[in-house]
Symmetry: C2
Subunit: 687 residues, 2 copies
């Protein structure tokens, strides 16, 4: 059994336990008392209390140790003081317990890493897998397991994985208010055993979970997490909130978890690469999750949305929002228009939105919606009632149409003497209700986002034979000829380049390259060659090459002089920058952009975690706003994007192959209609 | 008494009427019946029903005509068939009624403009001012006037002006759910008498309204509306939703109102110029309005926000959102940190957010919040409780601190056995509650946005003497020398320019300008001169000038040839574009941007309605993303922005002075460190 299989088994046991021991005080108001009563109240019979006084709740017997419990115990919930947890874990191990939830705090988050290490050791030696410590517990609505202090949601098939316990509470509270049911809630606090990656792997295989929501403050083991996320997305939609987006937020996140948040733009690139959808607020996440959960079994084809309304203003706002979200709101085609006009009274609006006006009856809603769903891929239905009329008949009409056509429908229902009843009826029949037409548009957009095939898995690190790093360690940066040599070894297009160590060699090299040439100093001490006059262009003869060599040597007087590198003069083309950085969390990341003002002032840079295949590289190239400058806008020549993509894909392997390299900057790369050449290269080595 | 005074008086009468006549059927479920009962239910005694059957409600007497009512009537509400409205209006006029609400539909929106004209005529002749027809009525919570079918809100000091009736219903429904009280609701439907501008003028002077919310689909009389909006913003905050932002939305808006929506970017420029805040959804508008309404009497100084929380995750997300909104979330200063650490237990987080953790008591919340408000300009308080504990003591603590310091406070309170009671208590004491910390941040941002002085009023159209248009009508476009002449007359910097009609004149002109010169053809038939070889650069001698003239004349063979214009060769500088368009709704609008890719591909263009003074023009210049290219980024020379602003301000008067001009394009204008010159100018005349 692999390590992964063992964690999967432990998490399953944790979420569907037969016997549960609650380790901690059961005095009124104490966590042990509250959790025991929540478990018992939700129907769990086999709840055992463990504490020094051997006190039970509701007159039941208690125990001093887990090992004293005569019946089987699958899960221990620790709410006892931190210092006592390791010993109690060992005792539970002796009893044969396999899983634990450590809610107790007072470990590394409170300045006691040694206690957390002791817990890890005790659990490992006892064969116990756990979430926590310092977590908010877990919850599984499918079996009434409420091992948390947070609000319990209604049963459903959306599950939440949260680094922050309080976030879980607020999310489930809002889910209740939004009428969204939930399956599992898993919080992991310090995450010193089972963490984001393991729990995500479990939820991605959990048959009772249709949609996964995650709240992250930071990620450890970025590459393994990416793999788990990519696999999860291939099975079901994953929505993510990553907090600490901004400098303020990141600071707040640090003080909360004591862990450095990775660069937010890298997180963006990772989520996008893995196909996870990033939400900014929990309301947005709930909107999207509702839309996805309600459409799991619906037919989803394209992004053409019909809007059915009985009021103009909200219809217009919804239409605006659909455009923002990239949904199409096309006018009805001829046949649809004819059919609708035979159903609807003359004053109805036959555009899209279809406006049945205040005269719209439930029967009209149903007929129109059914006919619209024949043509459109999904529908948003808006019903704005009056305080003295019933909304339920309209809800029934919408549900009937939704069921007869089985395409995604989301609604905004407002005002009515029975509006809550109507909304509950809709929600219970796979028609998610939203507090506005605009938010219904978000839900539909999410539902339709899963129409295509699941995104391709990120290319694994090719198991290439390890090529030893060719240059001695301790270099701050590779010299330009060394960097060019590394690029050559990757098969990346560099211009012909030769290094000369004497005037004569320079003349010979220049002749072999062909005049005119460009000459640059090679020196470990000089990083910015142009600034010191170390770059000479248009050297046109043997004599000039010799003379230039001598001058360049003088520039290096008193500094390292490792010769001169010679190139042909390159034709003018479009300049771009390729780069790579090594992110502390996710490892190598590729960057691409046009240079100069586009990068520095307009911040128009694309990012994608490495490695990339050519298709990925093409997506990276096409992600920048200034792409038209590469595709022939304003009469310019179109660049050879295929060669460029090939170069990026080859470069993307560099950092996995050479762990010594910390940063790469090919600036500029010159793109032509028939190829691309690296005109300058910097490679910085790790500290 | 001016026209404006008379509308103000009529609107006041309409909103605070003594006697109200409801003209229309009172059969059960009919509008007349429903509205009469709503009026009576809200405490209005003097409600009179008028209909052909002379039927009243609840056994009260009814009347056949308004003129038969023996008691005074201030307001008539028309819900009778459209065709009968004009006659009934005349009858009401005979009775001396001054104001009316025409809810009845069936006028121009239904293809009967003649009926609407008849209504206008009848009202004008009878001295009656009205809102409608085809509107959703009006409402004034201050006196229980519920002359609408829409949901009635709780009393408050936020008023809504809405072109769409249904929007009003959804907004008031959401306001109730959000715990926001409202003052007045005014809908105006077709707006054929009192419209957006008149009603806005009223609300801006209404002492019972602290915050104005508007929903617009389109605006008529854009310039007068802008004036009213600017004045309103100088008195109180104005929030606007303009629907039809996108192509889909605009199409939906058209089909709804039959009116063409103006270009959305112009609306953006207008709202920004007038100082109104644009919201995208009614939830956003309610969030902002709540924040503003609760802080009317609070001390508002800067944008430094303290966040007090008992849970990490929501605190981080709120901090992120504050950054997005441009709020500062600075760390506590030394003294504050010391004071807080003497109040708080050791495990509390002393950054910002201040995290009192789950151990935070009401007393701790109050002490911390008071001390934080001494240092910060406002606070966001987050309280995430547990389902079995009371939240009210925390609400009381927050209110006490808010009152003792009188600075804006917004809260996110979630979970508690008495959570609704706690939220109601907070809302009733000027502490607005939001469904998340992020949305509380929006509310605080709105509250703090009113700290500065009210924005300066838009410069009025200078009452200059009218300068007759110097060129004959019927031109499609001015010739380049004509356009340059117009610019000269405005005092805008053009390079020296001379027109030659013969080779000899060309040689003389070139000599007078100084070699080398640039020569361009002048022809009514050729718009794009470069495309036909009609532009010659670097003409260096008399002979070359003569020869070039002859060649350019040949280029025009068979077409109009009005000579050749000569300029000096201009020094290289930074090229920008100045333009003006005449918007159908708001009149002349100035555009500014860098040319080429920045305008065409990156769409980086600023807009501002004309006229502009120099300070306005400076703001326009500084509104583009590529501004650093003008201020010396990347070692370039900084441009003379003052000269540029002066040029824009002078240009901005052009279209008011010459109504014949439809479009102006100065492209490029070349900016130097010491001035700016127009290098090419196109002026298109109106159709």
């Amino acid at each position: 059994m692999s390590l992964t299989d063992s964690s999967m088994e432990a998490i399953r046991t944790m979420l569907y336990p037969e016997g549960v021991a609650v380790v901690g005080s059961v005095s009124p108001g104490k966590l042990g008392e509250v959790i025991s009563h929540r478990l018992l109240g939700a129907g769990y019979q086999n709840v055992y209390n463990v504490n020094p006084k051997a006190a039970g709740v509701d007159g039941k017997a208690g125990f001093r140790m887990v090992s004293e419990i005569p019946d089987p115990v699958d899960l221990c919930i620790f709410v006892c003081p931190a210092a006592t947890v390791p010993d109690m874990v060992r005792d539970a191990g002796r009893k044969g317990v396999k899983s634990a939830v450590v809610i107790s705090s007072g470990f590394s988050e409170a300045g006691h890493p040694e206690l957390e290490q002791e817990l890890q050791k005790a659990a490992a030696e006892s064969g116990i897998r756990y979430v926590g410590p310092n977590c908010a517990g877990i919850l599984n609505t499918a079996c009434g397991l409420i091992a948390t202090l947070e609000v319990a949601p209604r049963p459903g098939r959306v599950s939440l994985l949260s680094q922050s316990g309080a976030f879980g509470g607020t999310f489930m509270d809002a889910a209740n208010a939004a009428g969204m049911g939930m399956g599992k809630f898993l919080s992991y606090g310090n995450g010193s055993d089972l963490n984001d990656t393991a729990l995500l792997e479990y939820l991605s295989r959990d048959p009772d979970t249709d949609v996964i929501c995650m709240y992250l403050e930071n990620v450890k083991g970025g590459r393994r997490f990416m793999k788990a996320l990519t696999e999860a997305v291939s099975r079901k939609p994953v929505l993510v909130i990553k907090s600490g987006r901004t400098e303020n937020g990141a600071r707040a996140a640090q003080s909360h978890t004591g862990a450095m948040a990775g660069s937010d733009r890298v997180y963006d690139a990772v989520f996008s690469r893995c196909g996870a959808v990033r939400a900014e607020t929990f309301e947005e996440m709930i909107d999207l999750a509702k839309g996805l959960a309600a459409s799991v079994h619906a037919v989803r084809l394209g992004r053409r949305v019909g809007i059915l309304t009985n009021s103009g203003g909200p219809g217009v706002l919804t239409s605006d929002r659909c455009s923002d979200l990239g949904l199409e709101v096309p006018m009805p085609e001829k046949q649809l228009k004819e059919d609708l006009s035979s159903i609807l009274p003359s004053f109805a609006g036959l555009a899209n939105p279809i406006d049945v006006t205040v005269e719209g009856t439930p029967a009209l809603y149903q007929q129109c919606l059914e006919r619209m769903l024949d043509d459109y891929d999904a529908a948003i239905v808006i019903y704005v009632g009056t305080p003295y009329l019933k909304a339920l008949p309209y809800a029934e009409a919408v549900v009937a149409a939704r069921q007869s056509r089985n395409k995604p429908v989301a609604v905004y229902f407002a005002v009515g003497s029975d509006i809550e009843e109507a909304k509950a009826y809709l929600g219970a029949h796979d028609v998610p209700c939203y507090p506005s037409g605009e938010r219904a548009a978000s839900g539909i957009s999410a539902a339709l986002s899963r129409t295509g095939a699941a995104p391709a898995a990120a290319a694994g690190n090719a198991a290439e034979a390890f090529v030893p790093f060719p240059y001695e360690k301790g270099h701050g940066a590779l010299l330009e000829p060394e960097a060019m040599g590394v690029l050559d070894s990757l098969g990346i297009g560099t211009p012909k380049h030769l290094v000369a160590h004497s005037p004569e060699e320079a003349a010979a090299a220049a002749e072999s390259i062909g005049f005119p040439v460009c000459m640059k100093i090679v020196s470990r001490d000089i990083l910015h060659k142009s600034d010191v006059g170390g770059v000479r262009l248009g050297v046109a003869s043997r004599e000039q090459a010799e003379q230039t060599f001598r001058e360049l040597e003088k520039v290096c007087a008193g500094k390292d002089f490792s010769g001169v590198i010679l190139y042909p003069m390159l034709k003018k083309g479009t300049e771009v920058i390729l780069g790579m950085i090594r992110d502390a969390t996710f490892g190598p990341v590729c960057l691409f952009g046009l240079g100069g003002i586009f990068t520095e002032i307009l911040k128009d840079v694309g990012m994608m975690p490495a490695p990339l295949d050519k298709a990925d590289a093409d997506r990276l190239i096409r992600s920048i706003r200034t792409l038209p400058l590469l595709t022939g806008a304003r009469g310019g020549a179109a660049c050879d994007l295929e060669s460029l993509a090939d170069m990026i894909a080859k470069l993307s392997n560099l950092m996995d192959r050479y762990p010594e390299i910390r940063e790469v900057d090919l600036n500029p790369v010159i793109c032509y209609p028939d190829g691309a050449l690296v005109a300058d290269a910097r490679m910085i080595l790790g500290s």
